[in-house]
């Protein structure tokens, strides 16, 4: 039953982190108890068993108990044991950037028993969503665009076959195999690390989403059409939460999502990604206002925008601990 408790308590965390496209969510930890005659009634212990993808982890695991910040070398089987007083404790665990942090709700450590906390670290794969690419050659131009995502393609339009090859028009559209598209579209899984590690960005409340995006996208230099496409995609997503943390990635920052190359080389290859975390009423660290660059859009210019919703955990582990290797 304790396990069910943990599970239900965990649900909101899933719900916020859960991607919108129906990928499956699974529990990331469970708790069981075992009598331990080596312990007195006033002594308790937590036995941590850490695994990912069904295999025990090795190496070092960062953890916190009730807000503390420590690191432990894992024993064979991904185990380590902590002596703890009986009572309620809150744990957090972090293995590496490729796995999502695990934060537990209050777990009861019982006297005279081993409290076994089994961790199942989930891959921290996110999706690079809706990247769209507009081409603005000065006159009609044969172009080839190649994307190398850090993960795997999920969807492209039109079909991506080792690249897109077509005739780009000055209005931003591109003709491929006789059809004209207003932009090229791709989506892929990605590993983003933590774009908030520098603690630069913005908090945006529900009411201000549109005004905020208009202001920032204008400051970055997106056209009215690009802004509309961006805002009608991300606006409703952000506005479905009371408060979000937002960080923009520009140009070379965006290679964490994918490499984009265009031939012939444009004068300016401009990329704008939004990384955001729904934080709602959670305690959050202060973010310094992110300085945004005004993109140079002169000459033959290519503009790509996209983004990724990140799980709430990315921000918090960094904030609640200063655990750096």
């Amino acid at each position: 039953m304790k396990i069910l408790i943990c599970l239900l308590y965990l649900l909101p965390a899933f719900a916020f982190a859960a991607p919108h496209k129906g990928r499956e969510s699974v529990t990331s930890y469970s708790v069981t108890y075992k009598k331990n005659t080596a312990l007195k009634a006033t002594q308790g212990e937590a036995v941590i068993k850490a695994s990912a993808d069904g295999s025990a982890l090795s190496g070092r695991l960062k953890y916190g108990v009730n807000g503390s910040s420590k690191e432990m070398k894992l024993q064979p089987g991904g185990k380590f044991t902590l002596s703890l007083k009986p009572g309620k404790h809150v744990f957090q665990f972090w293995y590496d950037n490729n796995h999502e942090e695990i934060r537990t709700d209050s777990i009861v450590v019982k006297g005279g028993m081993s409290t076994i906390i089994t961790l199942d670290f989930q891959n921290a794969m996110q999706e690079a969503e809706k990247p769209v690419i507009y081409f603005y050659p000065e006159k009609d131009l044969d172009v080839t665009a190649t994307i190398v995502p850090t993960g795997e393609f999920i969807f492209t339009y039109p079909a991506y076959e080792n690249g897109w090859k077509g005739i780009a028009h000055p209005d931003g559209s591109i003709s491929i195999s006789g059809k004209t598209y207003p932009y090229l579209f791709w989506e892929a899984t990605t590993t983003t690390g933590n774009p908030f590690s520098t603690l630069a960005g913005f908090y945006v409340t529900k009411e201000n989403v549109t005004a905020f995006l208009e202001e920032k996208l204008t400051a970055i230099g997106l056209t009215a059409k690009e802004q509309t496409d961006f805002i009608t995609y991300w606006g409703p997503r952000l506005a479905s939460h009371e408060r979000c943390a937002v960080h923009f990635l520009l140009n070379s920052d965006c290679t964490v999502f994918a490499e984009l190359s265009v031939a012939p080389a444009p004068d300016h290859l401009n990329r704008v990604y939004i990384a955001w975390i729904p934080v709602n009423d959670l305690a959050t660290p202060d973010l310094a206002e992110q300085k945004l660059q005004f993109l140079d859009r002169s000459g033959f210019d290519v503009l790509e925008w996209g983004g990724s919703e990140l799980p709430v955990t990315n921000l918090f582990f960094e904030q609640t601990s200063t655990l750096k290797p």
Partner: protein, 325 residues
Amino acid sequence: MKKLFLFLLAALPVFVNAANELPDRMPPYVVRYEEGSFQKDSGMVTIECGLFSYQQVLQSFQYGINGSSETVMVGPKDEVNLPLAPKKYTFDFYYNSNYLEIFTDSIEVKPGMRTVISLYFEPVDRPINVKKPVIYLYPETTSEVTVSVQPVGELTFTYPAYNNGWQVTAQSNGDLSVNGKTYPYLFWESEQPQMEPFRDGKATVVSRENIVAFLEEKLTKLGLNEREQTDFITFWGPQLAANSRSVVKFMINEECDAFATLNISPKPAHVNRVYLLWCSAETEMSLENLTEQVLPVLNRDGFDVLEWGGSEIRFMQTYEANTGQ
């Protein structure tokens, strides 16, 4: 156990605020494994169940394993134990017509372990989101146009801002300007009560691989231009492609009054509306009695308005019941 369970239900609102503000994507089931003292060659499946409404505890529910059909009484522990030989199974669970049926992917029953499946039956009357209706206006000459939307539900997002209507300067190429800013289209979203568009059995099952080709074919037949098709396909395509199969149907023109009515002055020669209604259809569902929809060719002569949108419907039972399955 039961006491604890009730306690849990009472505790949930702390996280979700109110029953009608459930997070967007609560996973319908989660699976975890516990160590158990079972024989190495046997497995045990424990099914825990809950409802997302208060003070209701299941008395019994129906389940199927690899397509079988059984009814099981829920014991006093709010759980059901099924001994199953270790291998992979797919399950489905059904409580009553007020809750969505749950279909699982293949779940591995591991030898010597307890496989715990936690179920969360979701009410069917949750509102649906009417997504991304975008409106393009194509007057014959540059015109001042007023567009108003009366949604059946409540508007949740509009762009640009909607103040009892949009006052638009529309050009023949489709460019719109509102208060001096240019927009490619008008955008709104709403939330409204659940509906049952598949009741007449007129719909198509589309597999992931065929989604793009299917949408291109149907939208071309309806008469959407290349830009409209790209906007439509890059919005709905990835959402449909997240499912191995989807059931889809179109609602056309006045049928779309089920979502909103549009009032446009001066009156266009043609107001064309195309909505896509779709539902994820796991491969276990039998859907052979669907009949193909006959789609009209939209008349796009003269001052023409084109709106497209749609909604994910998460409820197929009505159709299943009608066909005696």
